[in-house]
Symmetry: C2
Subunit: 324 residues, 2 copies
């Protein structure tokens, strides 16, 4: 059986998300913000990975749908709480939940989403429940640990590239890995294949995140969808920032000075110039290539047919992009 | 086999809580606040109920220990987030987590506790996993719904006694019910017995909460452990408040006026006098008796031996107290 396109899986998820019925009436204060958060659209890459995993290994995307909704609900729970912690007011062009409602709502509706996500993910066949649940819970801990590191980085004086990689593996990689692994387990994949798909997901996540960091500085504003230089103006500890600071040359001092320039185009240009001088453009693209290759290596080692592997290659390509 | 005393179960839990090893090093920012929160002591009634359930139905308190730690971790997760939402600075005589650390820590370490709790509770035999997990997740949703109603009550103009009971059943009853039900399931109880124990736990929780409301107004400061009248000064929507406001007589107007008096002894005395005039002292004690009786009725309907039933009667008595 031929797998569907990413757009087709994504449309199925969108429709399933819309058909979830939440308690209303006097409980709408708790559940309406959840509906709001989940209606913001987006690529739905994480739940697509669940469906693709289930389809690839068991020809049973439908069986993976509830877990896919669980993964998307979990992802959005982390966004609700992260937005409170980061004091972010806008997400996908709309007010974040704590701005549209209030902080207490973002906290409590977020908690509710985590439990709903766990419930959805647990709706798998009995003989798969233990492995799926363990994969989900362990992933959740990795995500919180990644967020903790990310928050610590804001005030840390020195961050190693390993610290940075650990952080994005937690925040971004583990969720992509768990999504496709849970799908694979639902599809009946062997433990070996399930672990290889986890590796494929994690490495794709790392490549995606580093590419995202790269795009913020070296990308094209029209295709990136966000203004260039946002991370530089927010002194975000990106791959570029961490790798450049680790260079140890006298350019590091110049970089620190450039970050002292008031936020704006002048700072962005000055920092970008130093990044280029330090070879960060190339280093970053090499890192993306490195993790993409690791993802494909894991994928190729699975027992999947060439045709199915091709579907996952396309997904990684779509996610990581080719905007060099 | 004779069951242990509540103090013995409680000591076992205290010791098991202390022996949990959390990741340290660079992740201590995430896990240290969890240790802090769980070291505050307290009655540990909820995990005691898990152990008692496992012991009563299966003579296997040890098998229930991990789930007991899960229930206690869950309970403390709700305290971390509730304290942020209610802006409470002190709990059990110590700064709350968001005061000792900060709000972001209380949110993220709280999230981590919810996932840890789910992991611990899931450490049961495979054939019990589904029922235990469903009981846990459904309970968690009831707790959030109760907290939502509680927050809504702060600004609501009219609250019925049914609304109030729904709120405390969610916030307090469901957790006691789920704790003892999970223990019973681990012990191998039949579904019927497990459901009866759930009913025992929920009803004990209702009686406990109403008794707690009563003590705030009519209790003795030395045995209550808190200053009398705290709920009156905070305009808390207690059983007394809701039941009195529902009386519909002209005393309701007097009550509203009394609540306009600045917080302090004068207000507490004025409100207490009207509560007495409205017969709230007696009504409240009757309600406690009513739910206690329901708890015992459910307990008596189980297949447990008279001796084991007596252990659960003692627990309810200890919890609800006899401070009339």
């Amino acid at each position: 059986m031929i797998m569907k396109t990413i757009a087709e899986y994504s449309a199925e998820i969108e429709s399933a998300l819309r058909s979830i019925e939440y308690p209303g009436g006097k409980l709408s204060g708790l559940y309406q913000p959840i509906e709001y958060a989940l209606s913001a659209g987006g690529k739905r890459i994480r739940p697509v990975l669940v469906l693709m995993g289930a389809d690839a290994f068991g020809d049973c995307a439908a069986k993976g749908m509830k877990a896919a909704l669980g993964i998307e609900t979990f992802h959005n729970f982390t966004l609700l709480h992260d937005d409170v912690m980061d004091k972010s007011d806008i997400r996908r062009g709309r007010p974040t939940v704590h701005k549209k409602y209030n902080e207490n709502t973002a906290i409590l509706s977020g908690d509710t989403m985590l439990t709903l996500a766990t419930k959805y993910v647990a709706e798998v066949e009995d003989d798969k429940l233990r492995r799926v649940l363990d994969t989900f819970n362990d992933m959740a801990l990795r995500v919180y640990e990644g967020q903790q590191l990310d928050m610590d980085f804001e005030t840390a004086s020195e961050i190693s590239l390993d610290d940075y990689l650990e952080m994005i593996e937690g925040k971004t990689g583990s969720l992509l890995g768990a999504a496709v692994k849970i799908g694979a387990l639902i599809g009946g994949a062997s433990d070996k294949d399930a672990d290889l798909m986890y590796e494929y997901g994690v490495m794709t996540g790392l490549a995606f995140q580093i590419q995202d960091d790269w795009l913020d500085t070296f990308g094209d504003a029209t295709t990136f969808g966000k203004p260039i230089g946002g991370d530089i103006n927010n002194v975000k500890k990106t791959y570029l920032y961490v790798a450049a600071m680790a260079e140890g040359s006298k350019d590091v001092e110049a970089l620190k000075s450039a970050y002292q320039i008031p936020a704006g185009d002048v700072r962005v240009k000055a920092v970008t110039r130093i990044y280029e001088k330090l070879g960060m453009n190339e280093k970053c693209r090499k890192a993306v290539g490195h993790y993409s290759a690791k993802a494909l290596k894991a994928l190729n080692a699975t027992s999947l047919s060439e045709e199915k592997k091709e579907s996952f290659r396309k997904l990684a390509e779509k996610l990581i992009g080719r905007k060099k």
